[in-house]
């Protein structure tokens, strides 16, 4: 499982974000910026994001880790670390 590359993680996380928010153009995402500020992500969106990442990468995500998924870059790093 540890062989998943960073680019693959990024691609997959982007897919998840755009599936939650179909009106988001992936090209315009600022990876550093909070999704809540960029796209009005609310608690339901965050839950959906966590659930989808958890399922996609088969990792457990405790509730207290949700803040680590708040931006694209952070979410990718979190996943990489979990997989690592």
């Amino acid at each position: 499982m540890g062989t998943v590359k960073d680019t693959e993680i990024r691609t997959r996380v982007l897919e998840i974000i755009t599936s939650i928010a179909p009106d988001v153009d992936p090209a315009t995402i600022d990876p550093e910026l909070d999704l809540r500020d960029q796209f009005d992500f609310d608690s339901m969106d965050r839950l959906h994001l966590a659930a989808a990442i958890s399922e996609a990468f088969r990792i457990a995500i405790p509730e207290q880790d949700y803040p680590q998924l708040s931006a694209l870059q952070k979410a990718c790093e979190y996943v990489a670390k979990k997989l690592g």
Partner: protein, 382 residues
């Protein structure tokens, strides 16, 4: 028996809608609660559903047509009343057909068939980047060159238009509410620590996809309180209160980029938290992808609105007519709280209530708010 199927009013402010698509063909059976068509309203695309067990007779309004609320969209043959066989009923008799000579082809698109878009219109649409779906929605039967150019001109700044429409719709509804409903307002603060702790331990035990949001506890608490306290669950029509038999909690959901809709969680007082959470999750997803069912729009008997964790501490909501109450949930924040004579830091929820003074008064409202608070203090019972 033949029954007219009308365009339902999906909101107090809705005057008309544009039929976008028929989901059923003549002769096809339609069940109670099943979506029969999609309409476009100022609030977006909405599936409208059928309230009978029936067979679709004739589709009267063609996609692309804007019709007022109450317009007959289709004729249904109600199976319960001994309707004639659908196939026969759906086909016009030859005698009724127009004379063959010089008779024009039927103008409308064949239901279920390929959209009738002229070749020139199709090519121009491609050039202008207008989608076939948009053409289908815009054309009255057959889409011509003129329609494409008209649509392209309209579509120049597409997003602001749709949002303006929603903003106007919200404005109309709220203005009507403020004009007609004598609101009274109450607020209370609730220690949310028990609820939060209980939920954290619940969520730790289940997969991410089955976790429950704090907001849902509030919705469930409001639903139970509304079932227990009379005067808050139902409608006020012509100055008279009509209590509702079921508790359908409208949940105000923000549409990304601006705007707000409040579809209902049906029978919220009778569903357990996991079931309610699944429905809530589904509802939010559908709102944000533009596919709501008409029943969800008109069914709410009371509404909950929450600003979320980034929101203000307290809000004074406006009732969604013809409902009589709306509960506002402010930000849950750590605050000084007096517990057993000592000041401690606790997560505190500010709850507010706007209610219709024609139906209840402040005492009843206070009792209603207190009931919600008590319910949140024993989350395991939710």
């Amino acid at each position: 028996m033949q029954v007219d199927f009308h365009l339902p009013s999906l909101g107090a402010d809705m005057e008309s809608a544009t039929l976008v698509q028929w989901l059923k063909k003549p002769g096809e059976a339609v069940h109670r609660g099943e979506a029969i068509a999609v309409v476009e309203t100022a609030k977006g695309l909405i599936d409208i559903e059928c309230f009978d067990e029936a067979v679709v007779g004739s589709l009267i309004v063609q996609p692309g047509t804007k019709v007022p609320v109450g317009a007959v969209l289709a004729q249904l043959l109600s199976e319960t009343a001994g309707a004639p066989p659908p196939a026969k009923a759906a086909v016009p008799t030859p005698a009724a057909a127009a004379p063959a000579r010089l008779s024009p082809a039927p103008l409308a698109a064949a239901p279920g068939g390929r959209a009738r878009i002229s070749p020139a219109a199709r090519r121009r649409a491609h050039e202008l980047g207008v989608s076939v779906e948009a053409l289908e929605r815009a054309g009255a039967g057959i889409v011509h060159l003129e329609d494409v150019e008209h649509l392209a001109a309209q579509a120049k700044p597409p997003a602001p238009d749709a949002r303006d429409a929603m903003r106007i719709a919200i404005g109309n509804a709220m203005a009507r509410s403020k004009r007609e409903i004598p609101h009274y307002y109450l607020a209370d603060t609730v220690d949310f620590s028990t609820a939060r702790d209980w939920l954290a331990s619940y969520n730790a035990k289940v997969p991410v996809g089955e976790r429950i949001l704090e907001g849902l506890l509030i919705v469930k608490a409001v639903a139970l309180a509304a079932a227990r306290c009379s005067g808050f669950n139902g409608y006020c029509r012509d100055g008279r209160f009509e209590p509702a038999s079921a508790v359908n909690v409208g949940t105000a959901i923000a549409v990304r980029g601006g705007g707000l809709v409040a579809p209902a969680l049906l029978g919220a007082d009778r569903k357990d938290l996991p079931a309610l959470m699944r429905e809530f999750s589904d509802l939010v997803t559908r709102v944000r992808s533009g596919h709501m069912r008409s029943g969800e729009f008109t069914a709410a008997t009371i509404t909950v609105t929450a600003l979320g964790e980034e929101g203000a501490e307290l809000l004074w909501p406006i009732i969604n007519p013809p409902q009589v109450a709306i509960v506002g949930s402010g930000r849950i924040a750590l605050q000084p709280w007096v517990h057993e004579g000592a000041v401690v830091a606790r997560p505190v929820l500010s709850l507010s209530l706007a209610a219709d003074h024609r139906v209840t008064d402040g005492r009843a409202g206070s009792r209603f708010l207190r009931t919600i608070a008590e319910l949140l203090a024993t989350p395991a019972k939710l």
